[in-house]
Amino acid sequence: MQIVIDHTTTYRYGDAPLRVHQALRLWPVPGGGQVIYEWRVDVDGRKIRPTSRDGFGNPVATHVAEGPSAALRLHVHAEVETLDRHGVVGHTEDSLPPAFFVHPTLLTSADAAILEMAHGTARDSESDVARLHRLSAAVRERIDYQPLTTDVATPAAEALAAGAGVCQDHAHVLLAAARALGHPARYVSGYLCASAEQIAASHAWVEIYVEGLGWVGFDPANQICPDERYVRVATGRDYRDAAPVRGVRVGGGIESLEVLVRVGDQ
């Protein structure tokens, strides 16, 4: 499927900041069933290219915007061709071994409720893939899709207790539960082309390492394995590692964010 992404994020500040530093993870690694025809990122009209990769293999770049400007506009334009691989990403060439991804992080540590959900779902005589599908379904069942009830710093346990959240929270809870059962699991940030309206938000899901298959994608928010509508961008242990944008700034008052994403198929 041919996908076109036009993703604009505008950061607005209460006061003009003295300086904004951002680290961007907005470029996909080639391969994995994706062919990139074009991928362009610019900040206030200035083109940015990734200059190195982080430990997870994600292409990264940083930029500094010196004030005084009360807004900052990030734009991604991409044209990608994707295949439906039924979620199977397979054995990727990574610097970090799957075994690393079995350890919890601050955002994905499993509390009693997550452990109970993980072990309660697992049955003895079933395949890993079947078990993970049911786990993913359980996560979606327990967490209602409700924007603005959580933020990017909400830990999995809190999101589960609240019973509400967005795709990050679904991903974090599934990561915590899968790891608790001993499955290496990683966070994926990317884009989803919800073809009916051809407009969607950027998205987050999970990849779990299954012996024999390698990494397999699970999208707990939509209850499927990623197909040709998904564009993988960055991976990590949780949101913090794979966040499309991480920023710090000097001055600037209150920050607000406005996102406009168009992911359309052609």
């Binding site: 990769r53 500094v64 920023g247």
Partner: protein
């Protein structure tokens, strides 16, 4: 294993005689009038206070700019004793560097099952940010402080490795400086290997690990958390001695993955950062986002190969107290050699058998937190009350993987001035091993001394003092 009750080895007097390396010191002490000692001690203290060498102790009230007590009696090593240690230190640090490179690349030692995979990959000191990253000369711990203890004429043990930001070298240098001022005559009679060239060696080391495409003379800076840091004096001292800028996070800025310092004339490019800030605080864009000490984007400039950091991010994986257990195995694995320096036998509380033994023998063991440092969070069994031991046992059972235990070694003693004259006090030794295009070790290191009678804890945060450490230039005339 030597227990605390076993006879203690005194480095000066052993078997009723004075050991050869200490002959001069012994004669000097005999001839030194007591009132002279009091005067010299005051002079030494005045000197340290005047230069402002102080040490802030956490979690303690009182004077935030307390001096670390300095003892006038030097600790002496014969050249032959030092040679042996030096070879062992070089070997150990080579293995540590090879290990750190390995765990961030092919992880052969884990695949070979020589170090448990879980111990490395699940360790908070393992930094995935470093995976697959090629460093200049593959050096991670450019400055390593290896803590050694001695229990007999030929028995040395490594107590712990400090691969992150070991401190104390300024004391090594200032201790010698003050001794030379107070007792020039003594140095004329002895031939003591100099240590004053350490800053030059350090600067050479740092320059030799500049990024590969750095042209011309590399610009090196020392990055300090600032004047509130307990080791600030050392940061200023080393920067001054090396003739490099002492910078704080706000003095550096990263643009387009290049690191610059802010000067009155604009931005100036930086090639190597000798950083004395922990990994967690070094770059808020990559690690703790609320860190005000760090430099946004420094990690990315580092990964882009435009600036080098000493020590490397993630070097702490090699000085974890549970990883320590495996260092002799690293020497065999990477170097194909037998380790020249032994580890203290260590019980790994994550192993059920070890834990059982430790709980049964708490009264004779030292128990340490795997991730602790500076003498905090440890139990010295023989000196603890039974209530303290019981409380610690509960913690151990609850979180065994966070602890290791070691027998309480009978650390060697060196004569030390105490309230009433001279008495033996336990010591350790921290030599500083520099690794760049070659390995450099300034003879000796920092001798720390436990000033309280019978105490085995030498940490300055726990009431320890320091001594000048002598390595004799040659052993001629020694038996």
């Amino acid at each position: 294993m030597t227990q605390a009750s076993a006879p203690v080895f005194d480095e000066m007097h052993s078997d009723g005689a004075t050991r050869a390396p200490y002959a001069l010191i012994d004669a000097w002490l005999q001839a030194l009038p007591p009132e002279h000692v009091a005067l010299k001690r005051r002079e030494a203290e005045e000197w340290f206070r005047r230069i402002g060498i102080t040490f802030a102790v956490y979690s303690e009230g009182g004077d935030p700019e307390r001096l670390i007590p300095f003892d006038l009696i030097p600790r002496v090593l014969a050249q032959s004793e030092w040679q042996r240690l030096q070879r062992g230190l070089e070997q150990r640090v080579r293995a540590l560097n090879a290990f750190i490179h390995d765990v961030y690349h092919d992880r052969e030692i884990l695949r070979a099952g020589r170090v448990p995979q879980q111990l490395v990959l699940g360790n908070p000191q393992f930094r995935p940010e470093m995976a697959g990253f090629e460093l200049p000369r593959r050096v991670y711990t450019h400055i390593a402080g290896i803590d050694l203890v001695r229990t007999g004429p030929d028995q040395y043990y490594v107590l712990e490795d400090n691969c992150r930001t070991p401190s104390g070298v300024s004391y090594m240098l200032e201790n010698r400086e003050v001794m030379l001022r107070l007792f020039p005559e003594l140095f004329r009679r002895a031939s003591v290997a100099p240590v004053a060239h350490y800053p030059d060696e350090l600067l050479e080391t740092l320059r030799s690990v500049a990024p590969v495409h750095c042209r011309g003379e590399p610009t090196v800076v020392l990055l300090s958390p600032g004047i509130h840091n307990s080791a600030y004096y050392e940061h200023a001292f080393l920067a001054d001695e090396m003739g490099i800028e002492l910078v704080e996070g706000a003095d550096l800025i990263v643009r387009d993955d290049i690191c610059y310092m802010r000067t009155t004339g604009g931005l100036e490019r930086v090639d190597v950062v000798y950083r004395r800030i922990d990994d967690d605080y070094i770059d808020p864009l990559a690690f703790r986002e609320n860190s005000l000490l760090g430099v946004p984007g420094l990690y990315f400039a580092y990964r882009a190969g435009n600036v080098n950091l000493a020590n490397a991010i993630g070097a702490g994986i090699a000085d974890d107290k549970a990883v320590y257990i495996h260092v002799p195995e690293m020497v065999r694995f990477y170097l194909g050699e037998e380790p020249l320096l032994a580890n203290v036998p260590t019980f790994d509380c994550r192993k059920p058998d070890d834990l059982k033994y430790v709980l049964e023998h708490l009264h004779e063991l030292v128990v340490k937190e795997v991730h602790g440092s500076g003498g905090y969070g440890m139990l010295v069994g023989p000196h603890a009350s039974s209530a303290e031991r019981a409380a610690f046992a509960a913690q151990l059972r609850a979180r065994p993987h966070e602890y290791i235990a070691q027998p309480t070694l009978a650390l060697s003693t060196v004569p030390t001035f105490v309230e009433n004259g001279i008495a033996p006090r336990h010591v350790d030794l921290r030599p500083f091993v520099l690794t760049g295009e070659c390995t450099r070790i300034v003879p000796g290191g920092l001798t720390r001394v436990a000033l309280r009678e019978g105490s085995l804890v030498v940490n300055s945060s726990q009431g320890g003092g320091t001594k000048d450490t002598w390595v004799l230039e040659n052993d001629k005339g020694l038996d």
